[in-house]
Point group: C2
Chain length 294, copies 2
């Protein structure tokens, strides 16, 4: 919780996970990305993953508290973080939130799960609900699905015409430019699960009564449109892979790697923000005297 | 995460922490409650507290997931939990949220920190903002301060006349009766810190630049009214200590005990709710066949 462990900003090298997982600029071909890779993982495998993930908690906790403290003491200038999670059904958005983001103080988190738009949301621009959910100063926002659904499910299910959704990549880039300019660090994670692994996970949900609640028959309908979704994802990743808000592709066939990787990405980004403690907004000596007498 | 460990509801004995910390009915004299006690603590002391608290996480996690699953599968009948935290400045409401409630999946938590009412809130009944923040089916709500501020700070600072706030105990009881009738388990925790310990904690916030942000000069003004606050707390505890929503008094001078105690209270209440996994809302065999072909 205290200042010591992060008083120096570690050097950011090409060995950082952020570097390894960052989607290169240019054409995106999802079939060339390994969904079972364990890029940058420092341990042996599944057996040490929980411990290695938990070992990130103290530094994440310290840095998150600094971020939060600045939000309290200096909201006009405080930074913010937005962790955005996208991926096909079963790719593990919920698992990442539970196991990686769950290491963060709940007081510092603003989590929004975007479902099919409500009646009210449909009366507004598609970015209206997104803007409402952006993190406050000092907070870590988490988007479970996001504005990208408006160029993914909307496109594949033909909910709006091509002329409409094809404009949205630029609009999304403009929004992300605006919020990063305003001091929000955006960490966009595409949880990349394979067609085969999705099948195994759906089957697992039906194999155990404690997992029935996670199963939705509609997931099979979406699975039938896998190639169309992959193409829509490829285009979204390619067209919204900016310097200010790049995509990170998380190989997601191994849950233990996926959870560690997102926690590590969060840690690296928080370190890179060079977060100090805020100045006192009062006269420290005078307040010490008041407390002594109180 | 799985079903095994809690398939039977443990017997609830007089040795439960819920029994030990439950405020007895009748007259409340805060001066007779030990703020440094460690009732029911199973370990040796501070050194084993973090490990004993962490050891509660797997069962809390399992039970919370059942609660959440029911909220998803059967929202009309799913139960809910509300953990309500009250206490003087420095009593540790934030610490409890960070260290005890922080063990719960963020997806299952609805946290509300009640501050001085906003302009909008002041245009409504004092319970309006409370009702809006009540937990959804399957969720664990956390109130950092609550409706009780409307018979505490409001009374001591004379923000409304006596005739007004004196009616509120019955109104609060009526609200709590309604929500418990509707299936919400309410866990009201009074974090009971001593006058001396408060002073030490305020001084500690001024002794270290990484704690300045937690210090508010107004806390000293409230401290000057300690006896009036204690009387207001005593009345609120006494008059709103119902069978359906009793108060638990958490000795809060030892942070490590306080955090363990609230986590343990949550665990015991979740166990007492006898949470099973929801039934499938689809034909399992038919869906297995669909997945096999998908």
């Amino acid at each position: 919780m205290a200042a010591k462990s992060t008083s120096k900003t570690p050097r950011r090298t090409n060995q950082s996970l952020s570097h390894l997982l960052r989607l290169p600029a240019g054409r995106v071909d999802l079939s060339r990305l390994d969904t079972a890779a364990t890029h940058g993982y420092p341990g042996k495998g599944k057996d040490d993953a929980a411990a290695l993930t938990a070992a990130l908690a103290p530094q994440i906790s310290d840095l998150q508290e600094r971020l939060f403290a600045n939000g309290r003491a200096a909201p006009d200038t405080a930074k913010r973080v937005l962790v955005l999670l996208q991926g096909m059904d079963t790719s593990g958005k919920g698992g990442v939130i539970r196991h990686a983001m769950g290491m963060v103080d709940p007081q510092g988190i603003q989590l929004t799960s975007f479902k099919a738009p409500t009646v009210e949301e449909r009366q507004h621009h598609y970015l209206w609900r997104i803007e409402k959910a952006l993190p406050s100063p000092g907070m870590i926002g988490i988007f479970d699905r996001s504005q990208y659904e408006d160029v993914l499910v909307v496109r594949v299910e033909q909910l709006v015409p091509v002329s409409e959704w094809s404009k949205r990549y630029d609009e999304i880039n403009a929004l992300e430019k605006q919020i990063t300019d305003e001091g929000t660090t955006v960490i966009k994670c595409f949880l990349n699960v394979s067609f085969e692994e999705q099948k195994a996970r759906l089957a697992a949900r039906l194999a155990s009564p404690d997992k029935y609640w996670k199963y939705n028959p509609k997931d099979i309908d979406a699975r039938a449109k896998w190639p169309a979704y992959q193409q829509a994802y490829a285009d979204a990743l390619e067209r919204c892979n900016t310097d200010y808000a790049p995509w990170f592709v998380i190989p997601a066939d191994r849950k233990w790697y996926r959870n560690w990787a997102v926690a590590q990405l969060l840690r690296e980004h928080l370190v890179g923000m060079d977060l100090g403690w805020p100045e006192a907004t009062f006269d420290v000596a005078a307040e010490k005297a008041r407390v002594a007498k109180a």
